[in-house]
């Protein structure tokens, strides 16, 4: 990067090898079965794990197929930037793609995709967090995509929510994210990067990507992003598929949370004793 004196600089310009390779862009063609042999509305195998970052208040790691996302939650901590007094807490999200997470190397400096990705995650999580429980302090959620094999944004949302729950931040409900890729007639749930690929010249008809953030047990949608162009009913259909997808992921997330809670079992007596004192303090 020119002008970045804080990093070890490489050559002025360099090109990824595949750029010179014979262009065999193997993307999912319309019709036909999916490369990994799933049905159109199948999810990829999902793996979730909590408590992966020892330094953080809470953290989570998620795999959807080859997509790998890690999220760490810090706080409630002091609001970093000086601002006027607020009775509500603040939630901050930062989504980052590792430089090696994609086929094309990414830069260190935050780009637009990361910027609005962060915003979407924030919007997805904010309604779920009880912000009034930590006045004038903030909770930071840092998410890093280690490898992007499609629907990274959805994974980021789920992973972040799990991290928040692991951190013990009070929430009305967890949030689960899921994406659908609409390509002509085909509607692929939880698309891989190949399926996300869109040619420059798009054939007429529906083309687009829908990502939904869902509060599963309250069954409310907290975030909804659609890019591309879809007809009204297709769009609605796509959203429905997403929601069903979320509902599919939810039990896994729940199991993970339960087992992680069991893992660090609190000695109840002592705990309740403390809480009682807390309660009294609350009243005084």
């Amino acid at each position: 990067m020119p002008g970045d004196s804080r990093r070890i600089a490489g050559p002025q310009d360099s090109r990824a090898p595949h750029w010179f390779g014979r262009q065999q862009e193997t993307h999912q063609e319309a019709g036909g079965t999916r490369q990994d042999g799933r049905g159109d509305h199948d999810l990829r195998p999902v793996y979730l794990h909590t408590g992966v970052v020892s330094q953080a208040t809470g953290s989570a790691y998620m795999e959807m197929g080859q997509t790998k996302v890690i999220a760490a939650v810090y706080g409630p901590r002091e609001i970093s930037r000086r601002e006027e007094f607020t009775m509500k807490g603040r939630l901050c999200c930062e989504l980052k793609f590792a430089t090696f997470s994609c086929r094309q190397r990414r830069q260190h400096i935050q780009d637009n995709q990361e910027r609005d990705g962060s915003l979407i995650v924030l919007q997805a999580l904010e309604p779920a967090v009880c912000l009034d429980k930590f006045p004038k302090s903030q909770v930071d959620v840092y998410i890093t995509v280690l490898q992007d094999d499609g629907s990274a944004l959805a994974a980021a949302i789920t992973c972040a929510a799990l991290g928040l729950a692991d951190a013990g931040v009070m929430m009305y409900d967890v949030v689960v994210g899921c994406s659908v890729r609409q390509c002509g007639e085909d509607q692929w749930l939880d698309p891989s990067v190949r399926e996300e690929f869109r040619p420059e010249v798009e054939s007429a008809g529906d083309h687009g990507m829908v990502t939904v953030g869902l509060l599963p047990s309250l069954n409310q949608v907290s975030a909804l992003v659609l890019d591309g162009h879809l007809q009204q009913q297709t769009a609605v259909q796509a959203v429905k598929t997403c929601i069903s997808g979320c509902q599919g992921i939810y039990p896994i997330l729940k199991d993970c949370l339960v087992s992680s809670t069991r893992r660090n079992v609190p000695s109840l007596e002592q705990k309740s004793g403390q809480t009682s004192t807390d309660g009294q303090n609350g009243q005084t």
């Binding site: 330094q55 208040t57 809470g58 810090y74 706080g75 409630p76 901590r77 002091e78 609001i79 000086r82 601002e83 006027e84 007094f85 607020t86 779920a128 009880c130 429980k133 930590f134 006045p135 004038k136 302090s137 729950a165 692991d166 951190a167 013990g168 931040v169 009070m170 929430m171 009305y172 409900d173 967890v174 509060l215 599963p216 047990s217 309250l218 729940k254 949370l257 339960v258 992680s260 809670t261 069991r262 660090n264 079992v265 609190p266 109840l268 002592q270 705990k271 309740s272 403390q274 809480t275 009682s276 004192t277 807390d278 309660g279 303090n281 609350g282 005084t284």
Partner: protein
């Protein structure tokens, strides 16, 4: 005892008809939901006909609330106030400190006007204090105006840990010299 029920945020616990909502829960459409991943725990508080339902977990997010006892390290002392970094709230140790502030008039309960900050705190002291209010944007307002509150641990000029000799001064075991502090009466209730 039976393995207590584990619940996750957004999980419906009981109806408000048979329980009251306690910590880690919230009420929605006449039902009590959990807002933590933890263990559901019912408690009967005397004087209440309905038991209180709470959700308890090991890791809890601790923010100073009004009235809670906090442990802090004094960072700077001026004539009017004393700044400190809050390191513990109740029993939970914070990962990152919050800023707290003890004003001159909140140091002790009696003869407030005669308080001299420099005779009460020194930078580096460990103090117990109660949260008075959330204060302004960057500081919590703390008070040590109770016998149990004040300096619990201080190092002397010689660098030795001093022992309290009265409510107003501590002594250095090495040199025997006395230093002024607003000493806390430590209650010996350690588990």
């Amino acid at each position: 005892m039976a393995a207590p029920r584990v619940c996750v945020p957004g999980e419906r616990l009981v109806s408000t008809a048979d329980c009251e909502s306690g910590r880690g829960t919230y009420v929605h459409h006449g039902y009590i939901y959990s807002c933590l991943a933890g263990y559901m725990h019912k408690r009967n508080l005397d004087g209440k006909e309905l038991p209180i339902v709470e959700v308890i977990r090991q890791k809890e997010d601790a923010v100073p609330r009004i009235g809670s006892i906090v442990t802090g390290k004094v960072t700077s002392v001026s004539g009017r106030m004393c700044k400190c970094a809050i390191t513990c709230v109740e029993r939970t140790t914070l990962r990152e400190p919050f800023r707290g502030l003890i004003r001159k008039e909140d140091v002790r309960a009696t003869e407030k006007d005669r308080v001299e900050m420099y005779k009460c705190f020194r930078p580096g002291d460990i103090v117990l204090a109660r949260v008075l209010s959330l204060g302004d944007a960057n500081c919590y307002l703390l008070s040590t105006a109770e016998n149990e509150l004040g300096v619990v641990l201080a190092l002397s000029e010689a660098g030795a840990q001093m022992v309290p000799v009265s409510w107003s001064d501590m002594q250095c075991p090495k040199t025997g010299s006395k230093e002024f502090r607003k000493v806390a009466k430590v209650q010996l209730q350690q588990e």
